[in-house]
Amino acid sequence: MPGPALSVARPDEHPDRILSLRGITKRFGAVRALTGVDLDVHVGEVVAIVGDNGAGKSTLVKILAGVHPADGGSIRFFGQLTPIDSPTDSLDLGIATVFQDLALCDSLDVVSNLWLGRELTRAGALDEVEMEKRSWGLLRELHARITDVRVPVASLSGGQRQTVAIARSLIGDPHVVILDEPTAALGVSQTAEVLNLIERLRDRGLGVILVSHNIADVLAVADRVVVLRLGRNNGEFRASETSSDALIAAITGAMDHSRRGGDDPE
């Protein structure tokens, strides 16, 4: 990509490109939350979005999740121009969002939380056996460290809860999973657990959008890092070829990448 906003993708041009945002703009009253933001997500790729507080990360996530519709710009899904106007639109496209607060129902057990709102039934009644079986299958695939799926999620650790939230997002068979600050509240080993999980999502061929403050986490797991600053793109880096210093410079604005478009990932 020779720089943000310059390549208007034709559908056949990038068959592995799941999501392609161009010139996304969002205002809240007089505040410009996002101005001309571009973002691409490919199959089996972890894209990290980093930026300081107020950089527009959360707004971008909410636009993708359908919480706020964008004011301007285009969203293409597998090359098709698709507006996202509601959370349902987002889910129907195959975008699953795991918000920072997880929104789990603490008093329900793991299986109930995983299937909540999408329960399997058998002759009109809940099919607990099938749901539990598939839950184990999914958790096994994610190498989740969960020993009992019939305990209330309130009794799980932070990392386990994050795992349940992420596993839940996979029930709908999405193309893209958005993780909003998944490691913010976690300790060291639990963070490692979640980062492993993110790699497994990539291995499943999902596009992963990782929003994070934590440069170390980002460099550990992301393929590409998109920096936002004051609501604009401020550089794009290959995680393997950049350093935390370069990222921090782009985040704080010590180095202005907005004109140059940063490193070229393609």
Binding site: L91, F99, D101, A103, L104, C105, D106, S107, L108, S112, L116, G117, R118, E119, T121, G124, A125, L126, V129, E130, E132, K133, W136, L139, R140, L142, H143, A144, R145, I146, T147, D148, V151, P152, A154, S155, L156, R168
Partner: protein, 412 residues
């Protein structure tokens, strides 16, 4: 199991749950604040022991038949309260809604002379209608249920007085089918045993089928011994109740009582085996979590208000049938307080998300036992109120403490 060594998900527990394991998991659950119906069962046992010691008549079949008959109407209303408590809401108007339904029944069948089915339908219909109004106001304007139903209490009381008109008190003739149902209709012993047998067989078949499916799916399944124990306990309970209530001139299980138990069991299945029930517990646990999971929260809330008022109307009809009439104080006084107290004493949490339909059954048995037991001791209602209040406080303390220990054990 929960105390066992850490296992990762590659090794789901395929071992059958043995009896000692079941017992120990129960102990762990109790210690971490997951008490279920245990406290109310213990409370009931204590009450019955004390009352029987003071007056052996208490445990006579005739008195127990009386106890079940007296429990039915309030118990049905308490089912509705349980449903609303599950989402942390309450309906204070169930008493006057039941009074209104009773008034419609009495006026329609006696003064207007309408055919019974139509009158019953009209009396029943006032429940869902009122519940729908509550639900819409609650979800549309976010009025707290407490205040909303307090207003409803007054309005329904007004409607009840209006329906009764100048008569004030209406007696339904003894030979009316509804009074016969409420006072005279008892399930014959042979039919009761047949029903018991059918229920036991059904439960046994379900447990066995479930255990087999779980084993086939490689999941932890109940052992045959555990299933046998459960089914045996259930069979013993059902047959013992049916048998005992027929001894020494006891009239057995009233039709009204059977209806109450069927409603409890039906509500239990609705809550535990359907997507709707799962949604109810989810909304009770976390409204935001439920909404994000795609549950239509408002619909669940409206349905529960409708169900609660409907159960209140059914309870009112049963009360009118049993008392053969309706008057201005039907459903008044402590009726709604008893229904709410029954739900809470039965173990349904006031904080939402926890409880079961059976708490209506057990709670109302506690209340009625207190009432009948004290009557047998020739103590008047002043004592009854005080004792009931004390038991209610005890139940709420158990609820609060178990909630706190759940939080401490991370099982909030």
């Amino acid at each position: 199991m929960r105390q066992g060594p850490r296992r990762v998900a590659e090794h789901p527990d395929t071992a059958a749950r043995t009896l000692p394991e079941l017992v120990s998991s129960g102990v762990v659950r109790a210690r971490t604040g997951d008490l279920g119906v245990a406290p109310v069962l213990i409370g009931l046992a204590i009450l019955w022991t004390v009352f029987t010691a003071l007056n052996p008549v208490f445990l006579s079949p005739t008195n127990l038949v009386n106890l079940t008959m007296q429990s039915a109407a309030t118990g049905v209303i308490a089912i509705g309260i349980v449903l609303l408590l599950l989402i942390g809401e309450i309906d204070l108007s169930v008493g006057s809604v039941s009074g209104l339904a009773g008034a419609i029944l009495a006026v329609g069948s006696v003064q207007l002379g309408l055919p019974l089915p139509i009158v019953l339908l009209a009396a029943l219909a006032c429940g869902p209608l009122i519940g729908l109004v509550y639900g819409l106001l609650y979800t549309r304007f976010g009025v707290p249920g407490f205040v909303l139903t307090l207003a409803g209490l007054l309005a329904a009381l007004g409607a009840q007085l209006q329906v009764l008109g100048t008569a004030g008190s209406i007696t339904i003739p003894f030979d009316s089918a509804i009074v016969q149902f409420g006072q005279q209709l008892f399930v014959p012993a042979w039919l009761m045993y047949t029903i018991d047998a059918a229920v036991v067989a059904l439960v046994a078949w379900r447990l066995v089928a479930e255990a087999r499916r779980r084993a086939e799916a490689g999941l932890a399944a109940r052992s045959t011994a555990a299933i046998a124990l459960r089914v045996g306990a259930l069979a013993l309970l059902l047959f013992a109740c049916s048998w005992y209530l027929h001894q020494d001139g006891g009239r057995g299980v009233g039709a009204m009582v059977l209806l109450f138990v069927i409603l409890v069991a039906g509500t239990h299945l609705l809550l535990t085996r359907t997507r709707f029930g799962r949604a109810v517990y989810a909304v009770g646990g976390s409204v935001e979590g439920a909404r994000r999971a795609g549950i239509r929260v408002a619909r669940v809330q409206i349905s529960l208000f409708v169900l609660c008022s409907t159960f209140a109307a059914i309870g009112g009809i049963l009360a009118a049938a049993r008392l053969a009439g309706a008057n201005q104080s039907s459903g008044g006084g402590d009726m709604f307080l008893n229904a709410i107290a029954a739900a809470v004493i039965g173990g349904t949490s006031l904080f939402g998300g926890r409880g079961s339909a059976f708490s209506a059954l057990l709670g109302v048995l506690v209340l009625t036992s207190i009432s009948l037991g004290l009557t047998l001791l020739s103590l008047d209602s002043s004592v009854r109120y005080i004792v009931t209040g004390a038991v209610l406080v005890l139940a709420v303390i158990v609820d609060s403490v178990s909630r706190r220990s759940r939080a401490a054990a991370g099982r909030a």
